[in-house]
Symmetry: D2
Subunit: 354 residues, 4 copies
């Protein structure tokens, strides 16, 4: 009953098999190998256009280095006030990207066109001392389990365009978002006006595989240098390429994501029917936010369930925990089993009876 995070799961068998095969072969260092080239082609197919792709090992690196391509001295990047890049990456975007992050409010972790418009208004053109807006970054899924549809992304892109700033996606959970929305990757990115994407593999079955995808390859001119200087250029970079090769082949990545999403749906349905817990809101993808009665929480933990309580800053009234409740986040993964979900639900049912 491990719902702590999708990065607690191990890795998909196919990913590991590909890694073992690549380890048998070896190859030229620093990305000059065939696997890396094959992966570049896979990304081009996936996104239905030419892209510049760079492989790195962590999502933090992908975000910080991708944003760095748009940075400038005094550069400002807007993101949600609870965005991973602002709250959970210890200043990586500021350090590697040379930018400052400005957090904006928004329901369920999502930015809104109006919020972005207001944020931009605080940085009038030509005023040097406030800094210069250079990008807006959204998380897909958001940090509160919400997915942005193509229209929502396009609406943000339209605001971004009024000031010529870039649109970046932290796609640590891009796969589950694509699976949840049933949308094409191209429609969720460049066709909606996205400039650069952190395409995450780690949380959805890879070991350590993230790709920075530039939809305008001309902006990637310095990226290889940025990555090397940051120490994120792997000598045996085929180890990331091999993961992505297996991950993207035959839609494996979406299979994994659909699995995770199905388990989250099963969990959410059970919570909805439970007397011991209620959904805080209807999340998408592989995250479930629930308000659990304290007694049930104790029983679940005693029974071995693992999950995190979640901060309630900025939540709407209906999502706030009442007396005797706590807000928790439950994350499923490509590896979550029906059995794990059902055991969780059983404890909950028992707790509800009392």
């Amino acid at each position: 009953m491990n719902f702590a995070s999708d990065n607690w799961a191990g890795a998909s068998d196919r990913v590991i098999a590909a890694l073992a095969e690549a380890a048998e072969k070896g190859g030229p260092a620093y990305g000059a190998d065939e696997l890396t080239k094959a992966v570049e082609r896979r990304f081009a197919e996936l996104f239905e256009r030419e892209v510049a792709v760079f492989l790195v090992g962590t999502g933090t690196a992908a975000n910080a280095l991708g944003l760095a391509a748009y940075g400038c001295p005094g550069g400002v990047v807007f993101c949600h006030a609870q965005a991973h890049i602002l709250v959970d990456e210890a200043g990586a975007a500021e350090f590697n990207g040379g930018v400052r992050l400005v957090g904006l409010a928004g329901q369920r972790g999502k930015l809104t066109p109006q919020g972005l418009t207001d944020g931009l208004a605080r940085f009038p053109e030509g005023v040097v001392r406030h800094g210069r807006p250079v990008a807006v970054s959204l998380s897909q899924l958001s940090e509160l389990g919400a997915a942005y549809g193509p229209d929502e992304i396009a609406a943000l892109a339209e605001v971004a365009r009024t000031r010529g700033i870039a649109l970046h996606i932290d796609g640590a959970r891009f796969a589950v978002a694509v699976a949840a929305l049933g949308a094409k990757p191209a429609d969720l990115t460049w066709r909606a006006g996205v400039d650069v994407l952190s395409f995450g593999g780690t949380k959805n079955g890879c070991v350590a595989a993230e790709a920075v995808v530039f939809f305008d390859p001309s902006r990637a001119r310095d990226f290889a240098l940025t990555r090397q200087r940051a120490g994120h250029s792997f000598s045996k970079s085929w180890f990331i390429a091999a993961q992505f090769d297996a991950y993207l082949r035959d839609g494996h990545w979406l299979e994994l994501a659909r699995h995770a999403n199905a388990k989250a749906a099963r969990l959410a349905a059970a919570i909805e029917g439970s007397a011991a817990a209620r959904l805080a809101w209807v999340a998408q993808g592989n995250e479930v936010f629930a308000l659990i009665k304290r007694q049930a929480d104790e029983r679940l933990r005693a029974g071995g369930a693992i999950y995190y309580p979640w901060p309630t800053d900025g939540l709407p009234p209906e999502a706030l925990a009442g007396a005797g409740e706590i807000l928790v986040r439950l994350v499923t993964s490509f590896k979550t089993s029906d059995d794990e979900v059902d055991r969780f639900v059983d404890v909950l049912a028992d707790a509800g009876i009392v």
Copy 2:
């Protein structure tokens, strides 16, 4: 006949098996897992003392972040003029470590106490505008295939101590150096006055596994933050831990290193006896520097041999290529076979007859 670099080899079977096993299990994110703790204990045993160990994915990260622990504004780090950190890491130490690198001369890529003394003399105490020496970094093996013995390290440490600067080792090839010298890791590090070591696994059979080892754990206070901010904290960090667990178990790392060294010795012996090539100098470990006749070079490349020509800056006269010769570096690895060496030698023999 691939002697390009030891980072072209794949990975050891045991390392891959451990990785597959860990991927099956998964575990808590960001280093809170059991494997990470086990690896920390292995390092303590290996070095016969308490150490603070941090796992990262690249040697560049290990070097830059390790040096950062000793950096200060205007901080200066001495290293050999051909050191990897100066020549091949695109400014990573400067960027991540906030230090400047000052290259010193020295035979076979090795620093000397006198060279370091002279280097320090250019930074008189109390003169702010030159910057402040904070560390000296040596490469073990050196970039020209030489190993530093315990006494040589101790002599450098003695000079470092006169100014209170740290002694850092870039140990990308620490394993082959230990194997070549037959010395204890402790004698090559803290007992000789070393403060921090980049302990490399990648070049000697791992996929991507490097450890920053602090012999004075108190200096590691900020390292977790430094690593996170740099994007080098892996969520599934057990993937590095699993590699090291297998690598260090039962002396596997030294077996791999001895294999590589034995192949280099076989290669060197053959070159010594060849009319088509001669050793530039007697290298240690898994690197051979040879002067090859141009005709032989052409035949070797036509026959499929892969290796790099090497720059001749700062070499002593006897190592300089004569007319019709080129200086090349040949690197063996844990995976190099006798057959590969022998085929190389055969081509060389043929070329020599002509």
Copy 3:
């Protein structure tokens, strides 16, 4: 009728005379001169204790470099959401100080102990990925014209102490705050728990003179290097020292500040009695925040008055502009004359009659 900002005023005659005298003499470069030493002594007297003092040319440099002394990778500095260091310095603290700024709410630009407590709670000890709190910075005067009394500072220091973080003051308007409060500099700083102060001279009659004052000189160990690396070490640094020497001599700085404050009080009193404007709140020091009727605003500007409209984010309801009003900031300086104030008041009176 120039109430735009106190940095639009020129410089005090005594300051200029001292500069001219120093220019006649010259002296050793980079702070080894007698004037610099004299100024260091003046600061020690002023603060009734040993201090480490460093002269720089801008307030932004003073703030960013002073905070740098307490920075660490992933370091977090709390400040008011409208703080100059967050809003008006284009990322200087992040860049030079290697820290991230987290804005907190608070009435009239002032931090509160509870606000700081809540801010710290978002960074639980031992959680690496959020970053590590290292300092809290308050502005004296606040950005909305409020002064912190000794007790208020001590209360913030007490919260800071619970987590071992430093207390920094951006004292761009420290002089007018001291004059307004009638407090001793020591009581407003180290006796109340302040660690480091940006002591501003520029806004109160100097040309370009700011001092970073460390109350714990041991924390200033790297400051000379930090300043040099940032390009803020002046070769003819006596040019700053001469300004401070005149500024601090015989209480000249407080005379200048009292003058500015008196003019602000005269202005505030007139506004209080006006039908065309009202005070937004009772400011201290040399700033007046007023809600002016639009018609009066037009007449004032037509008559040559210069001042800035002010953003209304986060203001309490009573300070919000009604229909037909705008919020403006009026700043007086050491050079503001009664005549300037009276002309402003006259236009206002005329506008009010209509």
Copy 4:
């Protein structure tokens, strides 16, 4: 008898008078004032073309921020091994400019086209891990008192152009070089292929006045932000503008420089005729490098003369000190008097007799 450095001199009367006048007037903050605009026009006239000019307070800031406009991750800037930016600015170019400095050899502190060609060859195009050359910086005067003529600059620019890197001049002593060469500023800069110049005023009679002059204004797009983020944007920036206004008016800057040069020539001539000293080489501008007999050195210092011994690294044999000699640098300034020179010469003459 102060020949320590030209930054020990005070400031020119005209410069101080202009500063006093500006201090009387005051004006809009952050460079929106009339004086700043006037100075921009003066620079355009001086260089006979449109330029983008930015005022800062120190030469280190001018160099570091000017180079930052050409920086990129892993960016490499070539300069002389004894260049001020490499040796005397505590890493400012690395920190603010995000570049690494690579020192090249060359007689009398001057770069040569061949040296630059060789330096560039160490960074083959497309090799990421070495970093990317972005600029070459020369010092005018060089650190060893030599001036680059227009042809020499053009020859370096030609090499720079082969790789598309920028040509930067550290013109801390640009005035004395212009005066010594009798060349037009345009011929020594953009007409010879220079991209950006640190135009120094401080060493030649200003208090603190340096200008970054971009000959391609499009490269200055981010400079205002770069300067603000670095804390080098002065609120009362008319204080620098006023200095330059007086400095550039009616050729005052060249008068000051010619004075300094004439005193250096007088000093050099006396040394040439002395038995107690000899010229190390024929320097240009306001610097004299001499080999002084130790006995004479003692007498001079006893008599109150102030000057620095100079390092002898990389000097040609004829400039090396013999037994009983030391190499010293003697710098004259706009303020050096005939009397100071003559007293120095008298002591030398006395010492020579013995």
